[in-house]
């Protein structure tokens, strides 16, 4: 028997959120947190949460599980219960719609802001654009993001400035397109990130890396962007110096 505490809030009936306690009889095999939630929902159909694929690929069920963000569907109950207790809360930092469901508008807005699509200004060939396996390898660790928001909602910088700091998830995608040899807008992409907030609010706290359920490393991608911005700046400074500051 384990004690499960779930964050409950229905804006129509609750003035304040509260934690509701359930006693849960574990079956004789280990189960995932999502399965546990599904069982509880059978007895209390009002518990609300998102879910779709139930195998860690759609990114629906990010939530705070005993204080750490993760996907309910691939988190085994045995690995996260502490002292027979399990606490489930919505992802932190975003407005709660109801129970474990958060409003992701701000998160998606940051994603759209980085222009998350390939841009190539040359005419498309009749076949595919060629890309060597080693160039394609550069996208590994980037393209696999499932937009679950576990990282961004664990990042203090994102909590404070969700509208200005792009956040780890969208920055990872920004770098995914910068790193793609088929994309021709690298400069423009870097320019759009060069203000004091978009990237520079990341202070390397690394929460994002430790929670990503897909094992991705947004901090590393952010580091790459920062160093490209630096080289770019230096490059620009050199040009300015060499032609006496006059730019054509």
């Amino acid at each position: 028997m384990i004690e499960v505490n779930i964050y409950r809030y229905n804006p129509e009936t609750d003035r304040f959120p509260y934690m509701q306690k359930f006693n849960f009889e574990m079956p004789d095999r280990d189960i995932m947190v999502l399965e546990l939630l599904n069982s509880l929902k059978e007895s209390d159909p009002t518990i609300s949460y998102r879910r779709s694929c139930r195998e860690g690929v759609c990114g629906s069920d990010g939530m705070s599980i005993n204080g750490k963000n993760g996907l309910a569907c691939i988190t085994p109950v045995s690995e996260v219960t502490k002292g027979n207790k399990l606490e489930l809360r919505p992802l932190p930092g975003l407005p709660v719609v109801r129970d474990l469901v958060v409003d992701m508008t701000e998160f998606y807005a940051q994603y759209e802001k980085i222009k998350p699509f390939l841009q190539n200004d040359t005419p498309s060939p009749n076949q595919e654009r060629l890309q060597s396996p080693s160039d394609r390898d550069k996208l590994d660790g980037l393209y696999e993001c499932i937009l679950c928001a576990c990282c961004s909602t664990s990042c203090p910088s994102f909590w404070w400035n969700p509208d200005k700091f792009v956040g780890p998830a969208a920055l990872l995608q920004a770098y995914r397109f910068i790193a793609d040899t088929r994309d021709t807008r690298t400069e423009e992409r870097l320019d759009s990130l060069s203000d004091p907030f978009s990237v520079y609010r990341c202070h390397g706290i690394m929460n994002c890396v430790s929670v990503c359920p897909k094992g991705l490393n947004p901090n590393k991608a952010i580091g790459e962007i920062k160093s490209m911005l630096l080289t770019n700046r230096r490059h620009e400074a050199e040009i300015i110096a060499s032609d006496g500051g006059g730019r054509s």
């Binding site: 804006p11 779709s52 694929c53 759609c58 996208l139």
Partner: protein
Amino acid sequence: MVGHLNKDNIHTLEFDALIVGGGGSGMRTSLELAKSGLKTAVVSKVFPTRSHTVSAQGGITCAIQSADPHDDWRWHMFDTVKGSDYIGDQDAIEYMCSEGPKAVFELEHMGLPFSRFENGRIYQRPFGGQSKDFGNGGQASRTCAAADRTGHALLHTLYQNNVKEGANFLNEWFAVDLVKNKFNEITGVIAFSIESGEVAYLKSRATVLATGGAGRIYASTTNALINTGDGLGMSLRAGFPAQDMEMWQFHPTGIHGAGSLVTEGCRGEGGYLINADGERFMERYAPNAKDLAGRDVVARSMVLEILEGRGCGPNKDHVLLKLDHLGEEILNAKLPGICELSKTFAGVDPVYKPIPVVPTCHYMMGGTPTNIHGQAFSSENEVDNEIPGLFSVGEAACVSVHGANRLGGNSLLDLVVFGRAAGLHINEDLKSGGGVEEANIDDIESALYRLNKLNESNSGFEVAEVKRELQEVMQNFFGVFRRGEYMEKGVKALEEIRDKCDNLHLHDKSDSFNTNRVEALELQNLLEVAEATAISSLKRNESRGAHARDDFPERDDENWLCHSLYDPTKKDLRKRQVNFQPNTMEAFPPKVRAY
């Protein structure tokens, strides 16, 4: 949603085209329309990238002549016709296979991160049922892949390009029912915002059902929890037919217990199945293609091994997929997602140990019958009648390119080829003045019926219980092997379940993110699909493709070389001719299907 809903207390939003479904097929359609300047919206019950397409692993099959510069789309067409056990429409298959390369290159141009060969071209792997030279040249490698995450790569790429084109999305909106006017035309849908509970009549000149599959009619399935056949439920309730509903694909390699899929690409890369004796048993059942025979053939062989006592584990209820001989490096490079899934759901690292697998419900070959433009139709006395305003694409539709058995990698191709075709057609049609008449108050009230009934329920049956009952009936009576007497019991049981589905108790009446309401509506859709499946299976008295009957073990071309068309108003089956008239070549005549 307070009080009884009617036309006057809900909003009306007007569109030129409405796409219900933000999976691969819906988003390919919307991409075409977003560029057109028409007022379009995609309605999806989940944020688009959470659609089931994201789970597709192995790849998209297409003769792009990368692995083999001499590959030919006609060979792909031959394989698909043979795979379908000859009830795939040859004009549609011809269209898909010949248009395919264009559609795949387009995806690449949009940014899809395909894996690559040394020469920089798209990586292709072997999949089941693929051959060169019309079955005479050995195994082909025709499935284009982004590692084993092709669906994820495809779905995200399509979403990204929809963002780029400024497509309009109604995310986390649930479509309840079609609005049908007195001329039998579809004028849009009733839908509500899951987040706020706001109900609206989404009025449209063209409505496209791209709602995906319904694997959740079975207790054990590779499908996402949201795959509840909503679109098909809506069209069946509106009285429109569904085609080939007895044809459900059971994928050979679902993880035992969890149901999660491990891609056929595992066997494409050199993995194989073994029984309790460690024997590679597919060599006995399919001496040539072995583990890469058609999916129906492999699934049946596995069940026979288990029935004959050669299953593995304490209950002898599964077989094993062996991959360790491929080596860690290949597994990590080509099948990283599978290694992850296997560790999570089977507790097994395939680098060292084989994965326990069983045939698991995977894909719905049937669906709303359409032509190659996505136009839905009903059919009577050998004449197909278009349903004005109604279109369907993707797994929800039956165009039919998969016939009685789909080949691996052909669904993703189906999504993008026919998604695009439907978009182009709707665009032209609407720009040349196409459209439908108005619906009246009663038409709209009818489409609000289910919602009102649930909202007003004070007692009744529990959603979760009835759902479990339904899934067990389907699992027990309509699985890999079927028999008339059992299926009759199944059909009876479903009649009782229908009564319960008509009298569900909605506990939660609130408006904000009420998943209780969503699940109740989904269950009613599952029932429609289950019943269509059950009656179609019972009435097709032969074995063909995925439909295997103990009591009619042979294929019967004389009587059943045809589509089945289920009529929900009569709960009966009609026959419909298969197309044997491709445009550019001779048709492939039916032959014995051996692998």
